[in-house]
Each structure stands twice: as structure tokens, then as C-alpha cells.
Symmetry: C2
Subunit: 349 residues, 2 copies
């Protein structure tokens, strides 16, 4: 199949990550339901009883394991491979919700799942091999090459324009403003997460990278980008319907991450035209599948029952709590109170 | 891109064919509407005024050109490449119907179109190269190899069981009986069409193949299979809703044709595992896109307005007229009165 050993590790980690994160929503949801049943108070109206529910904590742990797996995946395989596979966690939670929570999956939703899987297979088959990296300085050289500096510069200028010009004017009417800010900073988050992950991987292999200032610099970039990203994702989710924000965010974020990775890590160098086109088609198919899953989710549900299918949306909603701007309006789904765990939002939606 | 010159010819012919056939439905529909407007009698209630309408005849000619292009495509490229591309004519007519006939395309239908295109690109990139064939005897040797004789034998046995056992018992309750018969014989039709097309191609190149009895044998097989196939397709369409029959028929027919071609022409020999898996994924994606287009077609239409979106369905409905079993119930869409033109039903639906 032409898939390298390192890529295989990355794919397995990314799949495990999607499995854990997808399952974590279902486990937490079960925990919340049980807490509501025993206490009589729903988390959505201010109860904290779910903190006493072991099942909820099990879900929390499952999620942390998934996030860690995803973080490590970036150390082994290219971002053009790991990032689109994040869509598979949506499938896992949709399928588990169907069987465990009895939240019926629409027939077209099943078609969406099939497409996500078919598209992911095409992406995996054609993913480029990662060039072996031996030190954090090597990543630093890649990050400071003119083409990537141009990308960083464009991102910063665009983010500033969006934040200071468009945000006050049409941030609350045009969904692209806040999601654009998240996606642009998100692409830089993933690049710095990948740099940091590779440094830590090298450190664990015996080549200590923590002595170099570059490692700490990447750590600071991760923190800055992730905080900005989350802050504006919360704003987007507070302003617009999650069903609208999620597919747009997934599309923009994944596209920009692939673009950033292709520029910085030169993922497509040495690949045939056919392989690149196949990858792009695979990505379009995964994206279409994601849209189909999101759109059909509301087909057979009345607006009043929306709260019950929130398991699928919780990855985004959980971000509300992380930034502290959440008002527990949807606290039942807001299940991720700790900072680093929210990192993965970027892949999921 | 690794696409061979012969395959490129086949792809261009298949795309032209889909374009012509997709457009022909729209042109004929326009002709029928105009005929109804000038005469006051709709074809659906017994009028033949459309025969005086030049636009209808233009549509007819467009369709014949498309059918011929498709026939020639089989002479150049493998069936695993040409057959799935037939789905693109559905897109062409859906898009043209949207702009010219103002039959609004559902947003998920657009997604279906995007998927069909993405899947087709993946198929084209990974299509195997055809082994150069120098005489009809060579095809005869392929057709009489044990593996393919086993396939032919299985098809004949299955068809007999379906026709004589299941057809009288549950042919009118289970959609798989009639569509199964069509698809099984359809896979043999395509193989013999390909044999005949290659023979004629060789003849035109100066190597006369008409002197060999094999060529005439393949011609007889084409006639027998196509007539059987159409007869049962009519029965399927008379018994069940076209929106149900079409995707099932497309799925079964294309799968069996690919299977037959892989056995007879050994299309997958010498291909990498990754290429074969990509082809299968591409086919699944095209299939999903076709299903999505068909399912969403009825989303925004009331049952009473169904007649107006029949352009998309006419390729199947037109077959009614061919077999003579049509009662002009849907004569407005029944636009293909001549035999050989109906040949292409197999790719379209």
C-alpha cells in the first residue's frame, strides 16, 4: 500500500484518538443523564451533580487519552494526514449515539459516515511520507523559510483585519468573521503543536531538545494561538447555530492547516500529481460527508428535542467553558473544563 | 498523472457521452413542453405533436451522438473506468435542469454532484491501463478462460433462478428481483459491447475482424443480453418507484460490470493494492453521490409536481418505449423510440 511505518503509527494514533474522543462524548452524556436522574437537577439549569458521577469522569479521562493520542500522532505523521482524520470522531459518536443513546441516525447520515470513511482511506493511501527530523533547529529552519514567513505574515494581517475591522462591524451577522479568525490561528496552532510534539518525541528518544530556546518559543506560540482560537470559537458558537458553525469551521480550519503544512513541511514535494489530486479529492469527500452528517442530524428532530442530540456537538460547545466566557447556558454539553484538553477542538470541528 | 493515451481517449469520450446524454434530456424536455404549448395536448395524454417539434429531434440526435461516444469509449478504455463515469450524465442533466428548466436543485443535491465529480477523478487517476488487443480471437480467449466461464455460468444460473423461481413469487414485492436480472445480464452486455467495439475499432484500423465468426457471435450476445436487460428494467420501473430502482440498479449494475471486467480483462493485474482500494473508494463515493442526488430530488417537490422533474429520470423511463411494453403512461418522458439507443441505460441507471 506504500504506507510508511511512521505514517502507520500516526494513522493508528489518529484513529485511536478519534475513537476515544468520539466515545468520550457518549460516556459523558450517559454520566450527565444518570446524574440528572439521581439528583433531579439537570446540569443545564445549574446543577453540578455530574461531578459526583463516576461515568462522567470516565468520559473525561477517555477524552484526555484521545487528546494525548492526537498530540502524539502529529509527532509521527504529516498534518495533511492527521488533521482530516479528525472527522472520524464525529462518526464514532454518531454511531455510538445511535446504538447506546438511541439517538436515531438518519439514513443520509449513514451515507455521510460511509463517505467520511471512503475519503479517509483515499487520504491515508496517498499521504506523503514525513522527512525524518533530527532536531528542533531543523523545524525552526522550516518555520523561518521565506514562503512560510509569508504565510505567517498573511495570517497575522488577516487576523488583525478581521479582529479590528470586521469583528465590530459584522461579526454578529456574518459567520465567516469569527470562524475565519479561529481557522487562521488554528492552522498556526497545529504547526506549532507539531513542532512541539516532534521536539518532545526527540527528547524522549534521548536527544534532549528542551535545552534549545526554539522549543520554548514553540510552546509559547501554541499557548497564544490556542487561546486566541478558543476565544473566537466561543464567540462564533455563542452567536451562531452550532450546525452552521461546525462544518464551516471544519472546512476552513482543515484547508488552512493543509495549506500551512504543505508550505512549511513541503509535504507535497516529490509526490506525483495524481497523489496530490487524490488527496484533495479525499479531503473534499470527507468534508462532504461531514456536512451531510451535520445537515441531516436535524432532519428528524424537532427544535425542542435538540438538547438530546448535543453529544455530537459537545466538542465545540465544551470550548465555552474553557475560555470562561460560557454562561452555562448549555452546561450539560460543556464537559471539558481544563485548558489543554480543548486543544483538539481544532481537529474536530 | 500516469494516465495513458488510450485511457485519456476513453475518458474524453465517456465525458462527452455523459455531456451529450445529460443535455439530450433537457433539450427533449424543452421540445415536449413547447409541443404541448403549441398543440395544447400533452404527450402524457396521448399526443404525438412532439414529433413535429424540431427541438425534440435535436434532443434525439444529441442522445444518439452520446450513445455512440459511449460505445466507442469502451473500445479504448477499460470498463472499470468507463462504466462508473456514466453517473456524470445525471449531474449534467441535474445542473442543466436547474438553470434551463428552472427545476431547483436541492443543496444536498449539489453536494451529491461534488461527490460524483470527486469520486470520478479518483477513479480516473487510478484506472488500469488496457492491454493492447490485436484481434477478436484474443478477446475470445479471454472470454473463454475458466474464471470468466465460471462467471458466465453463475450469471446464467442466477438469472434463471431469479426469472423462474423468484420472479413469479416476489417479483412485484421485492425490488431486487427485477433489478438483479437487469444487472446480471447488463454486466454481460457491457463485456460483449466492449468485445464488439474493439473488433470494430480494429476493423476501422484496417484489420478486418468481420471475417471471424467470433465477431458475429459477440454481436448476437449483445442483442440477447440487451433485450433481456431492457425487458426486466421495464418491469422493474413499471412495478417500483424510479427513485428506488435507479440507485439500486446503478449500484448493482456497476459493481457486477466491474467484477466481470476484472475477471475477463484482468484489469487489476499489475496494479498496486493502493490503486485498487482507491478505485473502490472512488466508486463508493460516486455511488453515494448518486444516491444523494436521487434521494434529495424529491425533498422540495410535492408529489403532484413530480412530472416536472422527470428529465432526470427519463433515461430509465425511455426504456419503456423501447421494449414496447410502455403504455404511454409517462410518454412525456418516454423519448427514445429506437432500439440501439437504449443500450446505454446500463451505464446511466
Amino acid at each position: 500500500m506504500g504506507i510508511s511505518k511512521e505514517n502507520l503509527k500516526g494513522v493508528i494514533l489518529a484513529l485511536l484518538s478519534s475513537g476515544f474522543i468520539g466515545a468520550s462524548f457518549i460516556i459523558k452524556k450517559k454520566g450527565l443523564r444518570r446524574a440528572a436522574a439521581t439528583s433531579g437537577v439537570r446540569a443545564g439549569v445549574g446543577g453540578y451533580y455530574y461531578l459526583l458521577e463516576p461515568l462522567w469522569w470516565l468520559g473525561m479521562i477517555t477524552m484526555i487519552v484521545g487528546e494525548v493520542a492526537n498530540f502524539i500522532a502529529y509527532a509521527f505523521a504529516p498534518a495533511v494526514l492527521v488533521t482530516p482524520l479528525g472527522a472520524l470522531s464525529i462518526i464514532v459518536s454518531a454511531v455510538l449515539a445511535h446504538f447506546i443513546l438511541k439517538e436515531k441516525l438518519h439514513q443520509l447520515g449513514i451515507l455521510g459516515c460511509v463517505m467520511c470513511i471512503a475519503g479517509s482511506i483515499v487520504i491515508v493511501i496517498h499521504a506523503p511520507q514525513e522527512h525524518p527530523i533530527t532536531s528542533v533547529q531543523e523545524i525552526w529552519t522550516m518555520a523561518t523559510q521565506p514562503a512560510f514567513l509569508l504565510y505567517i505574515g498573511s495570517v497575522i494581517v488577516l487576523v488583525f483585519i478581521l479582529v479590528f475591522h470586521f469583528s465590530p462591524r459584522c461579526g454578529h451577522t456574518n459567520v465567516l468573521v469569527f470562524t475565519g479568525i479561529c481557522s487562521l490561528t488554528g492552522s498556526l496552532s497545529v504547526m506549532s503543536v507539531k513542532a512541539l510534539g516532534t521536539s518532545l518525541k526527540l527528547t524522549f528518544e534521548g536527544k534532549n531538545q528542551l535545552v534549545y530556546p526554539e522549543t520554548w518559543f514553540f510552546m509559547m506560540v501554541v499557548a497564544t494561538c490556542v487561546i486566541t482560537q478558543m476565544n473566537y470559537l466561543n464567540k462564533a458558537l455563542d452567536t451562531f447555530n452550532t450546525a452552521v458553525v461546525s462544518p464551516i469551521y471544519y472546512a476552513l480550519f482543515t484547508t488552512l492547516t493543509i495549506l500551512a503544512s504543505v508550505i512549511m513541511f513541503k509535504d507535497w514535494d516529490g509526490q506525483s500529481g495524481g497523489a496530490i489530486v487524490s488527496e484533495i479529492c479525499g479531503f473534499i469527500v470527507v468534508l462532504s460527508g461531514t456536512i451531510l452528517l451535520h445537515v441531516t442530524k436535524d432532519f428528524e428532530r424537532s427544535p425542542s428535542s435538540r438538547g438530546s442530540n448535543s453529544a455530537l456537538l459537545s466538542p465545540s460547545l465544551s470550548v465555552r467553558l474553557c475560555s470562561g466566557s460560557g454562561e452555562y447556558k448549555f452546561a450539560e454539553e460543556a464537559v471539558s473544563p481544563s485548558g489543554p484538553i480543548c486543544l483538539r477542538r481544532q481537529e474536530l470541528y
